[in-house]
Symmetry: C2
Subunit: 324 residues, 2 copies
Amino acid sequence: MAIIDKIRSPINKELKDFEPYFKNSLKSDVPLLGTILNYIYRTKGKQLRPMFVFLSARLHGEINENSQLAACSVELLHTATLVHDDVVDESYERRGFFSVKALWRNKLAVLVGDYILAKGLLLTLEKKCYSFLHLTSRAVEDMSEGEILQMKKSRKLDIDDETYFEIIRKKTASLIATSMAIGTASVTDDEALVEKMYRIGQNAGIAFQIKDDIFDYQEKGIIGKPTGNDIKEKKITLPLLHVLKNSDAGEKRRILRLIKRKNKNSATVRELVNLVVEKGGIEYATQKMQEFKDKAVNALKEFPESEARESLIELMNYITTRKK
Amino acid sequence: MAIIDKIRSPINKELKDFEPYFKNSLKSDVPLLGTILNYIYRTKGKQLRPMFVFLSARLHGEINENSQLAACSVELLHTATLVHDDVVDESYERRGFFSVKALWRNKLAVLVGDYILAKGLLLTLEKKCYSFLHLTSRAVEDMSEGEILQMKKSRKLDIDDETYFEIIRKKTASLIATSMAIGTASVTDDEALVEKMYRIGQNAGIAFQIKDDIFDYQEKGIIGKPTGNDIKEKKITLPLLHVLKNSDAGEKRRILRLIKRKNKNSATVRELVNLVVEKGGIEYATQKMQEFKDKAVNALKEFPESEARESLIELMNYITTRKK
């Protein structure tokens, strides 16, 4: 059995029930909107966030209708950010399919993203689940602040470890943290427990994003070349940050000059990737990722042993060892 | 005294109090975000929607802190749609200033629009004004559906009066309707009254959008030429719809061929404008606009006479006679 199937096994039924639930939330009578929402549904991802929601709910109680609502709300918010990210990053591909931006252009990607964003927030409003809405709203604010902070810092290339962690905590970790918190909130009123799960999710989310940032420097896929997307977009992430910290003034200037280049050719990308690999940037980032993952896992181990707990721990292992 | 100052006179103090309230809602500690929000604040418009909110509140009670909150929420939502509209319509100008899209490009315009959209919804959440949130959320859904419907219909150029009114009811009238409803809800629990004000605002909002659509065919501004923006973007609005309805099959084909042209030159635009003017499209649209405005005004006249009532009626007159 693939590891991901093993992780899903305690919540198989709920994930199955989630499919029509989520599909239904992506419906509209407005003709073109309905078509695009259906396309988005068909190109959906692994749905890691609903897994975090359901496993957290199961860890602390019985998964119920509200857990479905919570999972759907979180997955809609995630979906909305992806649709807008493709406009922001000018990506023509998403999960091996054309992006909404590519097929229907910026105009519709912006509007459909708005629609899904509002839907993600308002789904819980319709059901008067105000406590859920308070949780998701915090995530929406964090995510856009994180993205903007990243843009600001990467423009000026003035970024240190502290800023890097603030960015990824806001732009990525906040929604994973919210998934664990909202899943918990769907089965208990214990606010301290909800907050505790939020913090576990935050550490897991930080580890998740570091892994993503490492991918940029690693051989992968059919082509077997690092994507180097972050380098092309002048995003300085943890592996490169490590190299900058450990370079003398002259070397630092040279690296910044390379990364500032517009329309970098593959030789420039290759040069930066090699530098990061040689100077131990990958090892450093991997070690940091492990630290955050361990924090999350150790906190989970404080709860009594259960199938859900083991699956959550395995999920943490999965996100830090995945191949894509 | 200019007409707009006369309209504002019963709510002068509240509009003045609104300034710091609104400014404060457009603040952020995130560096670049703060800068952009400040720019947006400095290029703010006439704030017609807060006027609708305050006058409706005054008509039915005493304007209070919640009315400020309501006005701010509505103005934020309006602001968010403008920031995203500039991406959608590729506009480099807004209210005589550069648009956010022009100055900071699509990336940031999308993210900042998301941020303001969320803020507009969540401001009332923070204060636990859930009834307000139910009203504004309906508007957000309507606005994005209206925009997408417009895009769909204008692509295929299959649009009739009914569809046109559905589009403008959703994309424009919904937020003006919400302004009047939410202002009323800030001073009374009478749901029937809130709904009644919503419907009045809806008619006013439809009249407002027809006026906008007429502008596209009228001499105006320094250049003294019709903007013809809708024609350039293949948007068929009421004046042209009237002409299409009253043309024989051959003429209709010719008009549709003209409007379908990519990169229309000014002669093509001029030809379509002249056609609309000659065939009475402007008169027809103006008459329809008057009908909706009259509906709104007559419904207002059912309330006892007051300064607020007169100002609201004058505001309806203003939006249908304004020069820009």
